[in-house]
Every structure is written in structure tokens, then in C-alpha cells.
């Protein structure tokens, strides 16, 4: 807490307020201090705290002093906190509420919520470092030339008017869109409560609306998953497009590879990652010759139905045995696969008991599982 300096709380020239939150208590490291109820303000340049009861009590620390920040989730009887790690105070720092501190971090405790938004904004400000572009405390240059001043004013007024128009238009769009979204949400809730009273068709139609609007879909149905007609069509298209590339790559491709391949081929009207995933989820139920598979690690792949990863494991075992031992990189090079899929295959082989791992700082290396074969 010795990094803070007293301040009037007024913003400097060029400094803008980003967000503020009431009900914030400060802690010096792990210890509570007397500043237990205040307003926390974030500007482009500083973090400012002002006592809610005594407005004269106000101090701040420059954002440039922050090393990094962490979140501490709320618990029973405990508010959510942000931990702010700080650089040591500079020698010419203005005096503040504390002369010294044995901690190099402070905690901000959000007793009236607001932690999530504040954390997001603080992270943004620390990333953008806007204080570097807008040095405060500079005086405005007064333009001596009256002629130029007049022209500039007209220009600025013109721009301001345009901005105002644009803002009004945007506001109109926002309020219309908001209405739409409220309506959609209320319908979605009704559907969720009474699964079965609204027809299948209407549900699908409604989901298309949600999709168009870009609203996350809370309604799920077993037969179609989170898909819509669009995704069904897409799934069928993918089956056509991916058949040959899959065969060329040994019957298996990661979803990121598929995403790049398909979008590069399309050129326009690209697929969003979500579109791709939703379409792939429907492959199996539509009885198409491809399927989506998710490994334990979370890696997602598309396989040909005819592809059997378990059989590939047998040949992988042979390859590893021939060489004595292999890392994922080495295996990938030998077989001509991507490292990502090579690793998944070796992990699967391990899971099935055929391979053993040797995990060291030199990397992850796989050996034939002699414990199993030579007992």
C-alpha cells in the first residue's frame, strides 16, 4: 500500500474515466487496512480510491506501476477480489497514506459486486497502455490565427454533427435489436419449460432466427442437437468436400485443418468455427461417411467411417518397436502425419496398453509396453 499517492481525484487533461465501482475495500497484501468502504475508479492512467464517507480521503496509483493482476473468486462470506501486483515505488513518488509496506501487492475486495467488469476493464487498460499515448498535464496550444480557428471550428462542428447522426442511428438499431432479443429470450424460455408443446418444425424455425441474430441457443433437442437446417445442409456438403482430402491424409484430420481447408476453398461466405463444429456434430446422426471424434485431450478430429484409429494403433506399435522408442515429433516425421495427430495416436496406444511413456524434461518418449508382453 505504499505505492499510492494522495490526489484530489480530479482527472487530468487527457485522462479519461473508464469504469468505477462502489463498495470496494482495500487490503495491504494479506492485511486489512482502515480503507474499507470506497469508490474505486479506473482511468486510462491511474487506479483511484476515494472514501465513500470522507471524500477528501482520496489516493491513486499509476497503472504503469502494475506488474500483473489476478482474480480471486468469491467464497462463502467472502467477496470476489482482484489481486494487484505492483512494482516497487519510485523514489520521487508523491506522499500517500502509507510510508512503507512489507507487501508488493494489494487486494481489491468487491463487496457490492462489479469485480468481473472491473477486472476486464483493468486488463484492457493494462494491455492498451493508453497512458503512454496521452501524457497528462500538458497545456493546450492556443491557436493565434483567428481565420484558421474559424474554419477549423466549422469543420469540427460538421464532424460532430455526423458523429451525432451516426450515434442516433446506431442507438435506434440498438433499441430495435434489444426488443428483438428480449422477445427471442422469452420465447426460448417458454420452449425450454414446455418441451413438446411447440412443434418440432417451429422449434427448428425458431432456432434459425436465433442463429441469424447470433444469440446463443439455450434450446437443445436430441434429434438435431444444436443444429438447424443450415447445419444439416452444411454437414452433407462437408461429407462431399472432405472425402478426398481425408483419404490423402490417412483417413483423419484435425478440426483446425478442416476449418482452414474448407474456408480457403470457399474464398467467400466463410464458415464460422461454431458453424463447422455444429455441422460436424450432425455427421453421425445423418449417417454420412465421416464422423467427429473428440479425444480425451479435447482435440477434435474428423475421421472417415472406414477409418479405424484402434487398428492404426497396431501399426503404430510396430513402428515404435522397430525404432526402439519414439517421440511424437519423430513418429510424425516417419509416418507423414501432423504432430498433433501423431501425439493423439501414441496417447491412444498408451491408453490401450500397448505403449509406455518416459516423461522427462527432454520430452515425452514412448516405448513398447514390455510390462505387458514380457511377464
Amino acid at each position: 500500500m505504499d505505492r499510492f499517492s494522495w490526489t484530489s481525484g480530479l482527472l487530468e487533461l487527457g485522462e479519461t474515466l473508464v469504469v468505477q465501482q462502489r463498495g470496494v475495500r482495500l487490503c495491504d497484501g494479506e492485511e486489512k487496512v482502515k480503507f474499507d468502504m470506497g469508490v474505486l475508479l479506473l482511468s486510462t492512467h491511474r487506479l483511484i480510491w476515494r472514501d465513500q464517507k470522507n471524500h477528501e480521503c482520496c489516493f491513486a496509483v499509476p497503472l504503469s506501476q502494475i506488474v500483473f493482476i489476478e482474480e480471486q473468486a468469491a467464497g462463502i462470506g467472502k467477496s470476489a477480489k482482484i489481486v494487484v501486483h505492483l512494482h516497487p515505488a519510485s523514489s520521487n513518488k508523491e506522499p500517500g497514506p502509507f510510508q512503507s509496506s512489507k507487501y508488493s501487492y494489494i487486494k481489491l475486495s468487491f463487496k457490492e459486486h462489479g469485480e468481473i467488469e472491473f477486472y476486464r476493464r483493468l486488463s484492457e487498460e493494462i494491455t492498451q497502455r493508453r497512458w503512454e499515448n496521452m501524457p497528462t498535464g500538458q497545456t493546450i496550444q492556443v491557436n493565434k490565427d483567428p481565420q484558421a480557428g474559424r474554419i477549423r471550428a466549422v469543420g469540427i462542428v460538421g464532424i460532430e454533427r455526423k458523429l451525432e447522426e451516426k450515434r442516433k442511428e446506431t442507438d435506434k438499431n440498438i433499441s430495435e435489436a434489444k426488443e428483438m432479443v428480449e422477445l427471442s429470450k422469452s420465447i426460448a424460455n417458454k420452449i425450454k419449460e414446455k418441451q413438446g408443446d411447440i412443434t418440432e418444425d417451429e422449434t427448428i424455425r425458431f432456432k434459425s432466427y436465433l442463429l441469424s441474430m447470433g444469440i446463443a441457443n439455450p434450446v437443445t433437442r436430441e434429434t438435431h442437437g444444436s443444429g438447424t437446417h443450415y447445419h444439416m445442409q452444411l454437414a452433407k456438403q462437408l461429407a462431399g468436400i472432405l472425402q478426398t482430402p481425408l483419404e490423402e491424409r490417412g483417413g483423419i484430420m484435425s478440426l483446425t485443418e478442416v476449418y482452414c481447408l474448407v474456408n480457403r476453398a470457399r474464398g467467400l461466405e466463410l464458415l464460422s468455427p461454431e458453424d463447422l463444429v455444429n455441422a460436424c456434430k450432425m455427421l453421425e446422426s445423418l449417417k454420412l461417411p465421416l464422423r467427429l471424434r473428440i479425444f480425451d485431450s479435447g482435440v477434435m478430429v474428423i475421421e472417415l467411417q472406414s477409418h479405424n484409429e484402434e487398428e492404426m494403433v497396431a501399426s503404430a506399435l510396430e513402428t515404435v518397436s522397430e525404432k526402439g522408442s519414439l517421440t511424437a515429433d519423430e513418429f510424425a516425421k516417419l509416418v507423414g502425419m501432423s504432430v498433433l495427430l501423431a501425439k493423439e495416436r501414441l496417447l491412444l496406444a498408451e491408453k490401450m496398453g500397448h505403449l509406455c511413456r518416459d516423461d522427462s524434461v527432454e520430452g515425452l518418449r514412448f516405448y513398447p509396453n514390455l510390462f505387458l508382453t514380457q511377464s
Binding site: 500483473f68 420465447i187 464460422s272 477434435m300
Partner: protein, 258 residues
Amino acid sequence: MHRRGVGAGAIAKRKLAEAKYKERGTVLAEDQLAQMSKQLDMFKTNLEEFASKHKQEIRKNPEFRVQFQDMCATIGVDPLASGKGFWSEMLGVGDFYYELGVQIIEVCLALKHRNGGLITLEELHQQVLKGRGKFAQDVSQDDLLRAIKKLKVLGNGFGIIPVGGTYLIQSVPAELNMDHTVVLQLAEKKGYVTVSEIRSSLKWETERAKQVLEHLLKEGMAWLDTQAAGEPQYWLPALFTELYAQEITPEEAKEAIP
């Protein structure tokens, strides 16, 4: 004050009322669907107008894109959820970000063997800009972050880790928990970190520090320098370009894609 209904009779009455309410609810929902259809059409027309005026700006102006995204966030919609959405089709917002996604994947893949799948947002930004060429639209770091957030759903382990004043982008499915992240943040200042620094800054025991560093070594995200004066230093190749810039050689690019 009359007594509130208690007993079986009152319960039955209440259940009947609930059932009737739910039935009414069904009718309401169907009505609303029809109403929504109409509203959607009207909204579509307005959006078309908006699009014709601002489509160019969205494509060319990163600032405007940020404002547009913020507006959507206020409303509660995700304009990048689907290429089939209004926003995508009319404003072309989608294509911009989805293509960016492809470029991000390609850059990360090409450099993975060198940095273990960790790259700073700055370096990613530079490499992507280079790949896009002189005549392509400008791309901001905000754009990259949004594109990456969308890529997460592909299961390839895309992640965004805040460090110092910037972000590290993870593009491999390696598990990085809070301990690893905090050490990465500590290393960001100089590009490397030592066990002693971790002990003094984070107040950890040696064992905990070593475990974290070994994990990063195994994943190829950290390199060990045992010849440093004093104690061994753990360097993050992801942060090398902060010290000196490197280009992707044609060989590296070819090697990346099997």
C-alpha cells in the same frame, strides 16, 4: 385479513391455475412467434440500410469494428456466431474474422516447433500482417483476440494468457494452470526466469517452482540455459522477438504443413 387457502382443496385449485397458465403460455408463444417473424422482417430492412452505409467502414476501420462489437455485446448478440447470421451476410463482419482465423492458425502452426505453441500477441500480429500483404485491410490486435476467441471451439487448445502489458496466445492443447500462467507472466519482463526469482517474487518453495518450469520445458515452451552465470535460466522463445525479430524461413513454413 382473510386466511390464505391451505389444505388439499387449495392445492388442487392452485394446480389447476398453474395448468391453465401454462396452456395460455403455449398460445402466447405461438402468437409471439408470428409477431417475431414480422419484427424480424422489419429489422432486416433496417439492418440492410445500416449495412449499405457502414459496410465499407467495418471492413476498413478497426476502431469502428470495436464499437460495433461493443454494441452487439450490449444487445446480447454475438455477430460472429455463424456465417449464416444477419451480421455476417449483410455486413460481411464474419468473413473478415473467419479468414483471420485461418491466418492465425497457419502462423501458429508454422512457428510451433520453435516456441512450443506460445506466441506473443505482438509477434502474431506482425506475422499475420506480413502474410496478408500490402494491399489487405488493416488488422488490429483487438481483431486478432476476437478471432482467437472464436477458434477456441475447434478444440485445438487455443487460449489467451494475459502477461505484463500484453497477451500470450496458446495454440496447442497443453494444460496450463494458474501456476504456469503466473510464471509466464513473471518471465515476460526479461524473456527468462530463474528458480530464485520465482521463490522471491511469488514466495513459492523450490519444488513447486521446479515442477512448473519442468512442465514448460516438456511442452517445448521454455528452453533451459545451463551456461548462464549464477543459476540456470529458463527462457521463453515466445518472448524472443521482444529482443530480436526473426522471420519464418521458407523451410520452416514448408515443414509446418505435412
